[in-house]
Structures are given as structure tokens and as C-alpha cells.
């Protein structure tokens, strides 16, 4: 056990200062305003600046386009970019998938993509979910048919966050409808700037933009295939396991967050800090909310959720983190009252609307990267060893789904 400060040597200290100078210069209020307006989770200017320094892939060697950072420096970079609130969703999906691309892709294609990713000119989004399949990624019915040295792709993918600013989609397709569900899948790194790809925006009330992407007779070269034909599930497992990771790194002397939900929790930290700032502000009569035992309790309860969340490892922490943000965000809106309702970004909003934003943003964290229910199933089965329920569609595509696979470009989903 060790929670001490990591002592920085002179080089590391200098590096930290360099990063802070970088964020001060580049992650400006304009960047944040752009993010508030677009919700794109990405800023091209900053991303290219990061690329110039090798900081898109900071631990890659310099010759590969990275910065060759040691783990301490990589973590310092990470912390400072978070402190500065760099919109980094698209950087995240790119980092999550590039390793698998390298491992399973055609070497020439990989060389090209690796270079572009490192310099920031290529980004990768996830092409997992479909309108009808939700959390059941292996139920994909976007169809890829081989035609000579090419593949013809038809179907659609939803929650392809960042597609509008990405050059590639990390795409799961079905190449055989007769094999068992997990066997007939093939992965591609699909270039998005080809004919037949149509990206339509979807907006969330968390302020984020995501997309639905339609594929109509999209033709791509076989060099964009990742791994073997019908072997897509084993290719996908790498990044999927990273997202869902079991056990979590409780390694000795690590300074990595142990919860895979820690990203969510950062937002709760901001909301809690905003609530404390409110609670410590004296009224005209000198009284402060924080002097009220009930306010102490309620702030303490949210702080407890937060501390419990960052202490909860792996996929358990993912559920706890989301739940803490969902419940904690709502509690803080109540506590601060009407002032907390004023929309993010409005001049009257307390602390820039951090609490309003948290309550809205929170809801997405219960879904993306796998719903909390998917994770509770994982915990029940893999941590507790409880038996898996025997659903009819575990192993096969349901009849209904196979039939509807004929449909190609569905309209934008109109939920209920």
C-alpha cells in the first residue's frame, strides 16, 4: 500500500512545467466554448498540437511518432490534460483501438495509419452498436460481402461518437449469417471518406454529439480487414476487454486509477467542488450553508460516494462510478437549488453550470461502453461465479433479427 506523492526528478518536473505551459497556451476558453457548442469531444487544433509533440501516443517511441514518455511522464501529461479539461473522447477511441489495428492489420495499411494517428491527422471511432442490438455487440447485422479483392458493406452503426472528425471506424460486421452468432463476424478498419458512408448527428441532453453512420454499398479494399474472415470476435475482444476489464490493475506502486469508471468521477469532483464553493460562501448575515449539519451531511454523502468510487476497482468501479455520478449529481442540484438549474455556460450559472452539466452528463455514463446492467452481469458471473442465465439469443441470431438484416439504411431511430 502506498498513496504517497510521486517524487519527480528534475527532468520530470521540467516536463510537468512544459505540459502546463502547453495547456495554458492551447486548451483555452475558446476550446471549452467550442466544446460546449459542439459536444464533439475533440478539438482539431489542440489535437494537431499534441501530435506535433508526440503526445497523441505519448508512450510510443519517437521514431514511431510518439514521445517515448516513461509512465510517470505519461501520467503527468494525462493528469494535466484532465485538469485543463481537454475534450478527449476521440483521442480515447483512437488510443483504444490502434493497438488492435497494429496487431491484426495489413502491415502496409498499418504503417500508414500509425503515422497518421501519431501526428494527429487520423482518428478512429468505434463502430460497434446497431440500432436494434444495443448492448449485444455480437448481434451485429451490418453485412460485409466479399467481392474479389474488395468488400461491400451495407448496414448502419449507432453511437459512433466522433465519426464526423474521424478518418476510420473500427467496424464489426457480419460476414456469415449461418454460423453461430459469435463466429460469423469480421472486423475492418473502415475509411470513412469513401462513397456510401453517410454520417448523421445524434445529440444527447448531456450536450454530447454522437452519430448514426449508414453504409450503402460501401466498397473497401481487403487490406482494411483486421484478422481473419469470420474471426472478428477474437479481434474485438482486446479493446472490449480493455473497456470491460476484470480485476483491474491493483499492481504494486501503480499510480493508475484502479476504477475503470474514474473518468466519470472527475465530473463529480468538479460538481462537488462547485457545491463546496457555494456552501462556503457567506450570506449577508455571515452564515454559511456549510455550518448547517444537514448540509455537512449531504456534502459528506456525495464526497463519500466519490471516494468510494475511486477506491472501487475495475468493472466494479465502473458501476459504482456511474451510480455515484447519477445520484450525486442529482443530490447536488437539490442542495444548491434553483441556481444549479441555470444552464451551463450562462453567466448567472453557479460555477459555470458545473452541477447542471453533471446531472445531465451523468446519465450517459450508465450506458456507454456497456450499460451498468451489462457490467452487473459481468460481475455476477465473473467475480461471484453465479450462473449465467440461458437466453435464447446467446449463441444464435434470433430469427427476427436475421429477417430484418435484409433492411439496409434504416431511418434515424425514433425511440418509443
Amino acid at each position: 500500500m502506498d498513496f504517497s506523492r510521486v517524487e519527480l526528478d528534475e527532468d520530470q518536473q521540467r516536463f510537468l512545467e512544459e505540459v502546463r505551459a502547453f495547456t495554458a497556451e492551447h486548451v483555452t476558453e475558446e476550446v471549452h466554448e467550442h466544446e460546449r457548442q459542439t459536444g464533439s469531444g475533440f478539438n482539431l487544433g489542440v489535437h494537431l498540437e499534441l501530435g506535433k509533440r508526440g503526445w497523441v501516443m505519448p508512450e510510443w517511441p519517437v521514431e514511431k511518432g510518439g514521445a517515448g514518455l516513461d509512465p510517470v511522464r505519461a501520467k503527468l501529461l494525462d493528469l494535466e490534460l484532465h485538469r485543463a479539461r481537454l475534450p478527449d473522447v476521440t483521442m480515447g477511441t483512437t488510443r483504444l483501438t490502434i493497438g488492435t489495428v497494429e496487431k491484426f492489420g495489413d502491415p502496409i495499411m498499418v504503417a500508414e495509419v500509425v503515422k497518421q494517428v501519431a501526428e494527429g491527422t487520423a482518428r478512429i471511432c468505434l463502430g460497434y452498436s446497431e440500432t436494434e442490438s444495443g448492448s449485444d455487440i455480437a448481434g451485429a447485422k451490418t453485412r460485409a460481402v466479399q467481392d474479389g479483392d474488395e468488400w461491400v458493406i451495407n448496414g448502419q452503426k449507432i453511437w459512433t461518437t466522433g465519426a464526423q472528425q474521424c478518418q476510420y471506424a473500427f467496424l464489426i460486421t457480419r460476414t456469415d449469417f449461418d454460423l453461430p452468432k459469435h463466429k460469423g463476424l469480421t472486423m475492418f478498419l473502415l475509411p470513412l471518406e469513401v462513397p456510401g458512408v453517410e454520417i448523421q448527428p445524434i445529440h444527447t441532453y448531456g450536450g454530447e454529439r454522437t452519430n448514426v453512420v449508414y453504409f450503402s454499398d460501401v466498397r473497401i479494399s481487403d487490406r482494411y480487414r483486421l484478422g481473419g474472415v469470420n474471426d472478428g470476435w477474437s479481434v474485438l475482444r482486446g479493446p472490449l476487454d480493455d473497456e470491460h476489464s476484470i480485476g483491474g490493475p491493483e499492481a504494486e506502486r501503480s499510480f493508475q486509477d484502479i476504477s475503470i469508471g474514474s473518468m466519470f468521477v472527475h465530473q463529480l469532483e468538479r460538481a462537488l467542488d462547485a457545491a463546496y464553493a457555494w456552501a462556503k460562501t457567506p450570506a449577508p448575515d455571515g452564515s454559511r450553508p456549510i455550518d448547517d449539519p444537514l448540509v455537512q451531511y449531504r456534502l459528506g454523502a456525495v464526497a463519500l460516494r466519490l471516494e468510494a468510487s475511486i477506491s472501487t476497482p475495475g468493472p466494479l468501479g465502473r458501476v459504482k462510478g456511474s451510480e455515484s455520478l447519477v445520484l450525486g449529481g442529482a443530490e447536488l442540484v437539490d442542495l444548491v437549488g434553483p441556481l444549479a438549474l441555470i444552464s451551463e455556460g450562462h453567466p448567472d450559472a453557479h460555477a459555470g453550470g458545473e452541477i447542471d452539466y453533471s446531472h445531465r452528463f451523468a446519465q450517459g455514463t450508465a450506458t456507454y461502453g456497456g450499460t451498468v446492467e451489462v457490467f452487473r452481469n459481468i460481475i455476477a458471473q465473473h467475480v461471484l461465479g453465479l450462473p449465467r442465465a440461458n437466453y435464447p439469443g446467446h449463441k444464435v441470431l434470433s430469427q427476427k433479427r436475421r429477417e430484418s438484416s435484409a433492411a439496409v439504411a434504416s431511418p434515424v431511430p425514433q425511440p418509443a
Binding site: S133, D136, Y205, P392
Partner: protein, 358 residues
């Protein structure tokens, strides 16, 4: 309070009440579909709907017939508010109804009362006494010409020909800052009765909002249930999974209880005020909890779809919290209920036998 006293436990609606409820449900269903709710964003005010509703007498119905009302009770208004909430109707109907009742109770001049009753101007209610801050975020304030407020022991009407600027907010409501100490102020009454009328108006606002939240939550649940009945995962309909179904059952439990608790609280306020004052804050706080939790669960049932602005569930989610915090932190109402109940309960637990013969 005697917990073993024989009282009716009658939560049922009379035929007239059912007629009122059905009429407003039909009206809101046809006139306030989600497309219209969206069109009224961000201010949350649909002027045409407001005129239609005023013609139906929604705000004036609980005034005496003599002043243009229908003699409806607070309980009748609860039914209207529930339907308003179900449809997320973008109209300041709760504010207006409560203000009109208060103006009548205080014996306000007939011109004021008439304007409130026919909807030609909007009158809102200050959430807090002016003593706790003259600059207040007033629900409905961005479309109101008048705000009823309590300053010391004086009930005042603050007027502004042009309502102040709308403050964009999570609940998409016509919220605006009003300076209740300045501007054109008219004192309507002063003294204990004035304070009482203001506090009664606050209580009524909370009960009507509680009803609106019940209706809101029930519709959010309905959307989620319809989705869960048809959406499949792994070859089964998701509504057959306990991980989906049990949270939805819990919302249904919350709705049923919050509705009845609100009705009971309103019955006491109207018929035996002072006997169970704890029930008003309890009902309001419970409805706020049920709405927050229910709308959260309902949108989550739809997975990613529920998180999109396209989904009607999102409209319900944003208003669940955005409406229930308009009058301030509802958790304070739980503390208020706890404090009020202390005066209603004995200081010592009675031995069983003493109670039995008491």
C-alpha cells in the same frame, strides 16, 4: 396524532372529478404533444396553449362562481396539474391558479382577480419571502406581468409591463430574476392573515407541483414500459428481465404512493388545516424523489436512445429535476416534515395499556 383513530381512507375520485381529469387529459393529449413541447423550448411557454387553457378555465376554476370561477377545490386542481405534468404542458398554470386563489383569499381588487382568472396577464408566486433575498429566480417569471410576494408581514404584488429576461435552465421553464423590493409594488394586505395566505399559496404550489411530477413520472414510465415490451436483447424481450422490470415496478410503486400521499396532504390542507401540516412537505419531497429517480430510470431503460434529445424520455428527464427544484431544495422539505411531526407526536412512547384505555 392518534395512529389508531378511525378515519376514512378514501382516495377515490368522484364522478365529477373523473370528468375533470378526463377532459384535461384529452385536452393536453391533443393540444400539447411532444412536438409542441419541443417547439416551446427553451422558454417553456406556448402562448396559444395558454390562451386555450385560460378559455377552459384552468386557472380560474377553483375561484368562486361569483368571481368567474367554478367553485372547484384544491383537490380538483391536483387533477389538472397531474395531466399538465403528464403532457409537460408549457404553461404557467400552477403559478396562475395558486396566485388567483391567494388574490381571492386576501380580498384583492376585482380588476386584479379578473386578470388572473381570465389569463390575460400571468401572475407568479415568489418562492421565498422577500426577507430571504429580494432578487429571486421566479418560476413563470419570464412570462409574468405580476409576482405575488411576502415582504415582512405584507403581501405585495410586484408588477412589470414587460417581464424580465428569460434565464435558460435545465427544466426549460420560464424562469427569470425579479427584484421584488423594487419596481411597481402594490401592497395588498398586511398582518397575520397576509402571512397565512402567502404560506398557504406556497403549500398549494408544492402540492400542485407534486401532482404535476406524478403525471410527468407516469408518462415517463409509460414510454419506458412500451419500449421494454418490444425491444429485444439476446433473443428475449428486455422487459422480461428482472434487471429491467424491477426498477420499472419500483417506479410504479413510487407513482402510486406519491399520488395518494399528495391527495391526502391536500385533503388535510383544505379540510383540516393544521392537523397534519407535515404531509405537505412530505408529499412534495416524495414526488420530487419519485420523479427524479423515475425519469432517470425511464430514460435509462431505453439505453443510449433515452439519452438523446430526440427521445421523448429526455424531455421528461430534464423536467423531473428542473421542475422539482424551482421552489428550492426539496430535501429541506423532508427536514421540515420531520420538524413539524415532532409537534404532532407525543414526547413519550405510551405504554401499550395506557394507550389502550386512553
Amino acid at each position: 396524532m392518534d395512529r389508531f383513530e378511525l378515519r376514512y381512507q378514501d382516495y377515490s375520485l368522484s364522478e365529477d372529478q373523473q370528468t375533470v381529469r378526463d377532459a384535461f387529459r384529452d385536452f393536453f393529449t391533443s393540444e400539447s404533444p411532444s412536438s409542441r413541447v419541443r417547439a416551446a423550448e427553451p422558454t417553456g411557454f406556448d402562448e396559444r396553449l395558454w390562451r386555450q387553457l385560460s378559455e377552459m378555465g384552468a386557472a380560474s376554476m377553483s375561484l368562486p362562481e361569483a368571481v368567474g370561477g367554478d367553485d372547484a377545490t384544491l383537490l380538483d386542481l391536483l387533477l389538472v396539474a397531474e395531466e399538465l405534468g403528464r403532457a409537460l404542458a408549457p404553461v404557467p398554470c400552477i403559478e396562475q391558479a395558486v396566485s388567483a386563489r391567494a388574490l381571492h383569499a386576501i380580498g384583492a381588487p376585482s380588476d386584479l382577480l379578473a386578470a388572473a382568472a381570465d389569463g390575460s396577464s400571468v401572475c407568479a408566486l415568489a418562492p421565498e419571502p422577500v426577507g430571504r433575498g429580494a432578487r429571486q429566480l421566479v418560476p413563470g417569471g419570464a412570462v409574468a406581468q405580476n409576482v405575488l410576494a411576502l415582504d415582512g408581514d405584507a403581501l405585495v404584488l410586484v408588477h412589470s409591463d414587460e417581464p424580465p429576461a428569460h434565464v435558460p435552465n435545465q427544466g426549460r421553464t420560464p424562469l427569470a430574476w425579479w427584484d421584488l423590493a423594487g419596481g411597481q409594488r402594490r401592497e395588498l394586505a398586511r398582518g397575520a392573515h397576509a402571512v397565512e395566505v402567502y404560506e398557504r399559496a406556497q403549500a398549494e404550489w408544492k402540492l400542485l407541483m407534486a401532482s404535476a411530477l406524478v403525471g410527468l413520472t407516469e408518462q415517463a414510465l409509460h414510454i419506458a414500459v412500451e419500449f421494454a415490451k418490444t425491444r429485444e436483447t439476446m433473443g428475449v424481450v428486455i422487459g422480461s428481465l428482472q434487471g429491467v422490470a424491477f426498477p420499472l415496478a419500483d417506479i410504479a410503486i413510487g407513482i402510486a404512493g406519491a399520488r395518494n400521499l399528495t391527495r391526502r396532504a391536500a385533503w388535510y390542507l383544505e379540510n383540516e388545516p393544521g392537523v397534519r401540516p407535515d404531509l405537505v412537505p412530505a408529499a412534495y419531497a416524495y414526488a420530487a424523489q419519485v420523479a427524479t429517480h423515475g425519469a432517470t430510470t425511464a430514460q435509462h431503460t431505453q439505453g443510449g436512445l433515452g439519452f438523446t434529445t430526440e427521445a421523448d424520455a429526455s424531455l421528461y428527464f430534464l423536467r423531473a429535476k428542473g421542475w422539482s427544484v424551482l421552489f428550492g431544495d426539496p430535501v429541506k422539505d423532508i427536514a421540515a416534515a420531520g420538524r413539524l411531526l415532532a409537534d404532532e407526536l407525543p414526547s413519550q412512547t405510551a405504554p401499550v395499556l395506557a394507550a389502550a384505555t386512553g
